[in-house]
């Protein structure tokens, strides 16, 4: 059958029509005699992306029974999907259509109309040649389970569980310890209002425990996980037990939180157990239970040093929340007695929220002194600090309270290995992109929220939890199927030497090795179609569907043609 190619040039109002000579393009294409083996139809239209334009195009495709379609218009980043959707309404497979950008890459950047016209002809010729070498591809629909596994029963995990659990979605919440709550359990007050919000936090536990759509697994850990978005097979169990519970879930949320180091292990901190040196979380819990700050002998301290940034330089990151909670502790002390001398030592102040500056001013106005240090050591209960000017000072205190850096939770590395997701150089889990996808990972369907992703406080942990719940709600709709990417890589068995290079370079774990056939195989449900495996394959066994070298070389051939 002779191919019948439709070429539709969009005038884009005046945007394209005034800057290239569309009539001349049609003439050149039709009179060149290059397309004798195909039937070529070339037409132009005012605005193809408009409602009328789409209807027109649909009718043209159907009435002409095109085998291939080229649309010369704006950037495919603007309207590729628009025209794919038009193709889907017809018998034309959308992968037998090619969009050519003659606006951004031609009409708008070449002021000379003749040259712009010539360039447009070149791009369209490339498009026609390429489209003839394109192949039909078919979208697949995969069944999904909307259920979700959450690892970690801290505040982030609980918030995500409550946001997701419902009639049509079961949440499996796995907590390593015997209790829900994580580090946020047993806090005294919450910033900024320091009112009754802390009670709301503790009521979460009951809400989670009583929710019939949340299945709790305490003292449990994940043992294995395999699968992809919509279909993860997971085993959970406790301790070293071989046997475990097997679950099928659509997504996994990692909310394993953080840990606080022993402050005595921090560099520059040298004291004994008798010395009045405490970690900030000890004091916060002391205030929650005893309602009073006291030394080991039960007496009230007369002077307190609050040391921020414990281990910050060594860890190489700011823990974000310490400055504000240390000021909160200073407030507790001043509430107890205005007579107590309070000095806050900080390396850098971090005041990220809108209330923070005002809070700082208030605390400073209550007689709390803020001292910036370049270097600081704690020797017994005395603080030796070197200021930014290099001057050293030593001062004895009745009590020293230290805010240590937040560290990745125990077992983070092992969990990353199990889930095949990367870790950041700080040891926390790495998000796909800090700005554009802070809760996603390189694996679709695996999310990292709360302090598992990096130092975070309660507010952003909960925000992350809500964000992940939102994402999952739209990705895994109960009763609906998902459509994975079709422009994926494929491996030709005959050429594959089984060298495993493609497995190593794949960011998504989308390629596995088939031991029986001794070749690598692409898992099409996981592959995102970047083509890195293609670029690395030494034996030419890979193909990137819809972006094959044969197809690209057709565009190249027109680009390098003698003019």
């Amino acid at each position: 059958m002779k191919a019948k190619v439709g070429v539709y040039i969009c005038e884009c109002g005046p945007n394209i029509s005034e800057r290239v000579d569309i009539e001349k393009i049609s003439e050149e294409l039709l009179s060149s005699g290059e397309y004798d083996d195909v039937e070529l139809v070339v037409k132009n239209y005012g605005l193809l992306c408009s409602g009328d334009g789409k209807t027109y195009l649909e009718e043209e495709i159907t009435s002409n029974a095109f085998t291939h379609l080229v649309i010369a218009a704006c950037s495919p980043r603007d309207h590729n999907t628009t025209f794919i959707n038009v193709c889907k309404k017809t018998d034309l497979n959308p992968f037998l259509y090619k969009m050519v950008n003659i606006r951004e890459h031609c009409a708008w950047i070449i002021p000379d109309k003749d040259k712009a016209t010539e360039k447009a002809v070149q791009y369209i010729r490339g498009g026609i040649k390429r489209v003839l070498y394109q192949s039909e591809l078919f979208e697949k629909q995969l069944d999904i389970t909307p259920d979700v596994l959450i690892l970690g029963g801290g505040i982030a995990g609980m918030e995500a569980a409550l946001a997701l659990a419902g009639e049509e979605r079961t949440v499996f919440l796995v907590e390593r310890s015997s209790e829900l709550g994580g580090v946020s359990a047993g806090l005294n007050r919450l910033l900024p209002r320091q009112g009754g919000e802390v009670n709301k936090l503790s009521s979460y536990r009951g809400e989670v425990e009583n929710n019939e759509h949340i299945k709790l697994y305490l003292d449990s850990e994940i043992k294995s996980v395999i699968g992809f978005l919509g279909n993860y097979e997971v085993t959970i169990g406790s301790g070293d037990e071989e046997e475990g519970v097997e679950l099928v879930v659509g997504a996994v949320i990692v909310a394993t939180g953080f840990k606080l180091p022993e402050i005595n292990g921090l560099p520059g901190f040298d004291f004994s157990e008798k010395d009045e040196v405490h970690s900030s979380i000890e004091i916060e819990r002391m205030m929650a239970t005893d309602r009073k700050l006291a030394m080991r002998n039960g007496e009230e301290p007369k002077s307190v040093a609050l040391v921020h940034c414990g281990g910050r330089s060594e860890r190489g990151y700011c823990s974000q929340i310490c400055c504000s909670y240390m000021m909160k502790i200073a407030g507790y002390i001043k509430d107890q007695s205005t007579e107590i001398e309070v000095v806050e030592y900080f390396r850098d102040l971090c005041l990220p929220y809108k209330e923070d500056q005002k809070f700082y001013d208030e605390i400073a106005a209550r007689g709390v002194e803020f001292r910036r240090f370049g270097k600081l050591e704690v020797d017994g209960a005395s603080v030796v600090s070197t200021g930014m000017d290099g001057a050293e000072s030593k001062q004895e205190y009745d009590m020293v309270i230290v805010a240590p850096a937040m560290l990745p939770a125990e077992g983070t590395e092992a969990l990353a290995g199990l889930l095949e997701i990367p870790l950041h150089e700080t040891g926390f889990f790495e998000e796909e992109h800090q700005s554009t996808n802070a809760i996603g990972t390189t694996t679709d369907g695996i999310f990292i929220i709360g302090a598992a992703q990096g130092p975070r406080g309660i507010s952003s942990s909960m925000l992350f939890a809500q964000a992940s719940a939102g994402r999952i709600s739209t990705q895994l709709i109960p009763g609906q199927k998902i459509t994975p990417e079709v422009k994926v890589s494929e491996i030709l068995e005959a050429y594959c030497t089984g060298c495993l290079t493609c497995l190593e370079v794949c960011s998504y774990g989308a390629i596995y090795f088939d031991d029986d056939r001794a070749i690598s195989v692409v898992n099409e449900a996981v592959c995102r179609g970047c083509g890195n495996c293609f670029g690395s394959c030494p034996s030419g066994a890979l193909r990137t569907k819809h972006f094959t070298n044969t197809q690209l070389m057709k565009e190249v051939a027109e680009a390098v043609r003698e003019r």
Partner: protein, 144 residues
């Protein structure tokens, strides 16, 4: 320079990643910055997809210069594709030398979606460089 060399109009192919540099090219277009018609864009999903074969075939087909451009390191849409691109580029330079092609005929650039101006600068200065280098030995009927 002889008159013939002055008339030399090169053919340059740019393999641009869909997410960053192709978008930068779109931005340069929307802001209507003038770009040499000697430069032709070929869209790929990721710069890491550009293999040695594609680059060499493009030269053998007659390109005078090739630009490979993608997201800044750390910003790859696919995580770390561009780190692989960087290694392949270093190898390709050597391959070109071996073939008797000037290694300057190939260039790698990191251009984000926001850098429309920079895209135009990179493309236009690369075009100038290729003009100075003259036609590819392959096109000059020189035996490799």
């Amino acid at each position: 320079m002889t008159e013939k060399e002055q008339e030399f109009s090169p053919n340059i192919v740019g393999f641009l990643c869909n997410w960053c540099t192709y978008a930068a090219a779109d931005l340069a277009g929307s802001t209507k910055i003038e770009i040499s018609p000697a430069f032709s864009v070929v869209r790929v999903m990721c710069s890491s997809r550009v293999d040695h074969n594609l680059v060499l075939s493009t030269f053998f087909d007659g390109a005078d210069g090739i630009l490979i451009a993608g997201c800044h390191p750390g910003d790859c849409h696919y995580g770390k594709g561009n780190y692989f691109t960087r290694r392949r580029y270093a190898q390709l330079k050597k391959v070109l030398e071996t073939l008797g092609l000037e290694p300057e005929r190939i260039q790698l650039a990191w251009i984000s979606a926001a850098e429309g101006n920079r895209y135009a600068e990179v493309v236009n200065s690369f075009t100038e460089k290729i003009k100075e280098l003259g036609p590819s030995p392959i096109n000059n009927n020189q035996r490799l």
